[in-house]
């Protein structure tokens, strides 16, 4: 635990210059902290990308890695459902043209309902936890629940039940239901991680957190650090 904590600190300190922890490193932090993260690699060349995709099997997701791109979808830096090596090489070529390109994430496709799990260090109240319906429309639907951390299991359940889209999580009209126990556990461990990390961070977005009846995956994450 001490070792994992110092490893997390090391990753955060290394990201200070950029002002935020990029997706691959943020995912490393969540992996260390015990969260489920889809299998992925960071590829510097198209060949690396194709080799990894060959190992895990198509389709895959490709995402640009750049310290200058906070919102990847906004600049066309995300490609989902890539079916073959040609598509992957094509995505790589396209991402190379984006600002600050450092490489490409190749990741297994996982399914589930898109949630957002977030944290913010509030000036008046300190660490706050947010759960909501995620994806790219998150700021349009604004279907979120907010609590001051730490939170109890009761708070976590109330957050889930407080979402307008709550019924979408419980198998609405025959759809697959989300494992609410797993989601609760994820929320609680996220809140305790945030309490631990609160010094030096400004906010965290896990968006999407992909949840189904079998898993809750941290499919994308960024950690914004406090300006010094």
């Amino acid at each position: 635990m001490i070792d994992s904590r110092s490893e997390i600190n090391r990753i955060i300190e290394a990201a200070r210059a950029d002002g935020w922890v990029l997706e691959p490193d943020a995912k490393r932090i969540f992996t260390i902290a015990g969260f489920d993260v889809p299998r992925f690699t960071t590829a510097r060349t198209p060949e690396e990308a194709i080799r990894f995709a060959g190992e895990i099997g198509y389709p895959v997701v490709a995402k640009v890695i750049s310290p200058r791109i906070l919102h990847k979808s906004d600049v066309g830096g995300v490609a989902v459902g890539i079916a073959d090596a040609g598509g992957l090489a094509e995505a790589f070529r396209r991402f190379q043209g984006l600002e600050g390109f450092l490489g490409m994430i190749v990741e297994e496709m996982v399914s589930g309902i898109e949630l957002i799990l977030g944290a913010k260090i509030d000036f008046q109240f300190g660490p706050m936890i947010l759960l909501g319906m995620g994806g790219t429309g998150v700021e349009i639907y604004k279907d979120v629940a907010l609590r001051m951390a730490p939170i109890s299991e009761k708070d976590a359940l109330a957050m889930i039940e407080g979402l307008k889209a709550h019924r979408l999580l419980t198998g609405y009209r025959g759809a697959e239901r989300v494992d609410l126990k797993m989601l609760t556990v994820t929320l609680l461990s996220f809140a305790s991680l945030v309490m631990e990390l609160s010094e030096g961070i400004e906010s965290i977005d896990i968006n999407p957190l992909l949840c189904s009846s079998r898993h809750c995956f941290v499919a994308d994450a960024r950690i914004i650090l406090q300006k010094e």
Partner: protein, 454 residues
């Protein structure tokens, strides 16, 4: 720090009184306490002279008694010196009325005053505030007494960052019959802030409801506030301003954007069962009903009226706020019908809301409220009274209030705010049932009881 000398002073020194400028705020404070309150008051000014026939002391050390509270209304740059003199003269507390500190960029001057006070553990309110008002005890507001409305004495204590809002709310509380225990404007809250006053009012036996007008908290102060408020055992009501985001602060994450300052504030208050009022009507309604009933309810309302329209409006507001209006079981309906007056029996609507119609009389209300009292499914009674109809008398308030008192369920009434219904209204309030002057206000009172979880 002991705040008792502030709220219960026996002796008071007013710095800055003027022998020739009768309009000086310090003179107003001096005069009103001299003439109207049971506190020995001394005027201080290095130039001496007299005020209202009393000689002005040149220095606090000349005052023959120990002083519980100093009221300081001198130029800002003189305040550090005056505070130092007070401490030397063993004054026990102060209210700094003077402006000209952090609010105009003189944070340095304010910090000097705080440093002096902290070192001596000397409690002071302000600067840049009106100070405090305790009915029949003390009043540091520099507002001429004849311009103020005399508040009704009661059990709500109100802490406000803004003096203007405080005075305005005190007048509105009075108009609605909400009783005040203590009121304090904390201005720049350089030393004493919301947390200290929350502590004080938590143990103050005269205070049953603690209300706050808050513009914003300092770093992490909000966290400490909610943790304290949750444990204080009294209902806490908060009206917050500054809800719109100030300017277009660039926000880099979705979470930071969705969890803005006010969104976080509001979410945390409800997480800790603090009752947030989003506007004045809510503030007044919440304070009024919580000062009458501290016990939480689940919010299952029995409504009685003589107008179907009033019932319908009330049901709509209940529904919008998640309050339930449960139906009447057959046996209750039959029993109630038997107890109604013959002219009402056949025309009343005996569902919830119960509409007794314009033929209803006092005894029909009494029978209906008794039925609601007997129903386990109902935990709060709402009586919408229209005293225009001929069958309702001025005694109905006292009758219904008495029944509610006996059965132990909260009763909230709506009566139009008209002078000639005063006796009806007092009948309720003297029996401990709050009266709203709008249907919405009445439902807000019910909602406050549901949201309060002390």
């Amino acid at each position: 720090m002991d705040l008792k000398p502030l709220f219960e002073p026996r002796t008071m020194a007013v710095f800055g009184v003027s022998a020739n400028n009768y309009r000086h705020p310090a003179n107003e404070i001096f005069n009103k306490n001299l003439l109207r309150y049971p506190v020995a008051v001394y005027g201080i000014n290095p130039r001496g002279g007299t005020i209202n026939g009393q000689s002005i002391h040149r220095n606090i050390s000349e005052v023959p008694e120990e002083i519980d509270m100093a009221v300081i209304a001198v130029r800002a740059d003189l305040v550090p010196e005056v505070i130092t003199e007070c401490i030397k003269a063993k004054v026990r507390s102060a209210v700094v009325i003077s402006g000209g500190f952090a609010e105009v960029g003189r944070g340095d001057l304010q910090e000097r005053v705080v440093a002096i006070a902290k070192e001596a553990e000397f409690p002071f309110v302000g600067p840049n505030c009106l100070g405090l008002y305790v009915p029949s005890r003390v009043d540091t507001f520099f507002l001429p007494g004849e311009r103020m409305v005399n508040p009704v004495v009661g059990n709500v204590s109100f802490v406000s960052q803004s003096g203007g809002i405080l005075v305005d709310q005190m007048i509105k509380f009075t108009n609605e019959g909400v009783g005040l225990a203590k009121a304090i404007s904390i201005g720049n809250k350089a030393l004493l802030g919301e947390l200290d006053l929350l502590d004080y009012f938590t143990t103050d036996p005269a205070t049953k409801v603690i209300a706050f007008y808050i513009e914003g908290f300092g770093g992490n102060e909000g966290r400490r506030f909610v943790l304290k408020a949750e444990k204080c055992g009294k209902p806490v009501v908060v009206l917050k301003t500054g809800k719109s985001p100030g300017g277009s602060k660039a926000v880099s994450s979705h979470t930071a954007s969705l969890a803005g300052d006010y969104a976080s504030f509001s979410a945390v208050l409800s997480q800790y069962n603090i009752v947030e009022a989003v506007n004045e009507l809510e503030l007044i309604s919440f304070c009024e009903s919580l000062s009458a009933y501290a016990k939480p309810i689940e919010g299952r309302v029995g409504i009685v009226t003589v107008s179907g329209g009033h019932g319908a409006v009330a049901v709509d507001v209940c529904a919008a706020r998640g309050l339930l209006v449960p139906g009447l079981p057959e046996n209750i309906r039959e029993d109630l019908c038997k107890n109604l007056s013959p002219s009402v029996q056949d025309i009343a609507t005996l569902t919830n809301p119960i509409d007794l119609t314009g033929s209803g009389i006092d005894e029909d209300f009494v029978a209906t409220v008794r039925s609601f009292c007997s129903m386990e499914d109902i935990d709060c009674v709402l009586a919408l009274l229209l005293p225009y109809i001929p069958g309702i008398t001025s005694d109905l308030g006292a009758k219904l209030g008495g029944i509610a008192r006996q059965c132990g369920k909260p009763l909230i009434a709506y009566v139009p705010n008209v002078e000639k219904y005063a006796m009806l209204i007092e009948g309720f309030t003297l029996n401990g049932s709050p009266v709203a002057h709008s249907i919405e206000g009445a439902v807000l009172m019910v909602d406050a009881l549901r949201r309060n979880r002390p």
